[in-house]
């Protein structure tokens, strides 16, 4: 339920606010879960609005963000469970 709510919030923020405000929320989301849905949201934004854009910036940013989060998770203390 938490994840669903966070996803809805991410969808709303992706349309309503500046990408720089969305970034910290997306970071938290990616650290909390394996956030493949962020990539889907990025793709939706690119497909919907990016008619004139050469590159799918939101999708690429989401892939980089989720990859970075997955890479950094084991380094963080609260993920290093024995």
């Amino acid at each position: 339920m938490m994840r669903f709510t966070a996803t809805i919030i991410a969808i709303c923020l992706s349309v309503l606010v500046s990408p720089w405000l969305l970034l910290p929320v997306a970071c938290l989301h990616a650290l909390a879960w394996f956030a493949w849905e962020l990539i889907l949201i990025g793709l939706c934004v690119d497909v919907y609005f990016g008619a004139a854009s050469g590159l799918p910036y939101y999708t690429l940013a989401a892939i980089v963000l989720v990859s970075a989060a997955e890479w950094i998770k084991p380094q963080l203390l609260f993920y290093a469970r024995d």
Binding site: I11, C12, S14, V15, L16, P19, F34, W36, I39, L40, I41, L43, C44, V45, D46, V47, Y48, F49, G50, A51, A52, S53, G54, P56, Y58, T59, A62, I63, V66, S67, E70, W71, K73, P74, D82
Partner: protein, 316 residues
């Protein structure tokens, strides 16, 4: 034993991390591939996800319904509630609403009534600063007859862009000012064709060699939009030591303040140079003509209702 155990755990963690990273990349590639292979299906999903958010935002920010009005102007409504004890306040409120509707009506009439070609009126529900990309979102879609690549006008003759994507109830307008968009323009004054590039935020930039008399107020026309006056040069950046100068053109109404637009019913088609010259000439004639009432106009032909205030037009 302990060392072996730690090493195994570390290896396992690394393997797990690599697997997850690969999974992220695979998921990303699958999504992008889907968008390429099945654009309509992905577009439909995107429309289902994004449209409700945009519609809700517009409803909250611009609707005159009771709830959003209440949320927007809560403090004003609280103040008005105190004054409702007086009859005058209620009447003022009605007058305000009527005036608002009259202004809106006039805007819609000017968009549709004076247009020479068939147009579809549309409300703007998303503007560049509110949307992820430098585009406009309108509340008319394929169900209202909007087609891809149709020109979009901010007034009767002022072209601002074209339809980039069409959804059942909405459409995304790609602006001539969207970064990365280049367009051929004609500038009155120096009377030159040049290339304009979108800068975002309703601004296009033209760069021409030094020595060309580019001045603020020069009218900019986009022949590809057929009736398309874009706007006028608002600023010129000219440094004598540089080989070129820049001119910035903007719409008379800032894009962020657009409330209504009209959409052509037919898609834009590639224009050859001869057609572009015809468009430029037609705009020039419009600029030089003034509508004069039939009784006032003295003309030997006796059929025209407009007079030309200049005797000749310059060859281009």
């Amino acid at each position: 034993m302990r060392k072996y155990s730690l090493t195994t755990k570390a290896n396992s963690r690394r393997t797990s991390r690599t697997r997850r990273l690969r999974l992220v990349v695979v998921i990303g590639l699958v999504f992008v591939l889907l968008a390429v292979v099945l654009p309509r299906a992905v577009s439909l999903v995107a429309s289902l996800v994004i449209t409700p958010v945009v519609m809700t935002e517009d409803w909250l920010l611009h609707s005159r319904d009771t709830v959003p009005m209440y949320l927007r102007d809560r403090n004003e409504l609280i103040a008005a509630q105190r004054e409702l004890e007086r009859e005058l306040a209620a009447r003022d409120g009605s007058e305000y609403a009527i005036n608002q509707l009259l202004v809106e009506n006039e805007e819609l009439r000017s968009l549709l009534g004076t247009a020479s070609t068939s147009r579809i009126g549309a409300g703007v529900i998303g503007r560049p600063t509110e949307l992820p990309y430098d585009t406009i979102l309108i509340d008319r879609g394929s169900r209202d007859g909007v087609v891809e690549n149709a020109p979009v006008f901010a007034g009767a003759e002022q072209a601002i862009g074209f339809i980039g994507r069409v959804y059942p109830h909405t459409a995304v307008v790609v602006l001539a000012t969207t970064p990365g968009i280049s367009s051929t323009v004609y500038i009155y004054g120096p009377n030159i064709y040049t290339v304009a590039e979108g800068m975002g935020g309703g601004i296009i930039r033209v760069h021409v060699p030094q020595g060309i008399a580019l001045e603020p107020g020069n009218l900019v026309v986009m022949p590809t939009f057929v009736s398309g006056v874009y706007g006028e040069i608002v600023s010129v950046e000219s440094v004598p030591t540089r080989p070129e100068q820049y001119g910035y053109a903007a719409l008379s109404t800032p894009v962020a303040h657009l409330r209504f637009v009209s959409v052509g019913t037919e898609a834009l088609e590639p224009l050859d140079f001869a057609s572009a010259r015809e468009v430029v000439e037609a705009v020039r004639e419009d600029m030089l003509s003034v509508p004069v009432p039939a009784g006032v106009l003295i003309d030997s032909t006796g059929t025209s209702t407009a007079t030309t205030t200049a005797s000749s037009t310059e060859n281009i």
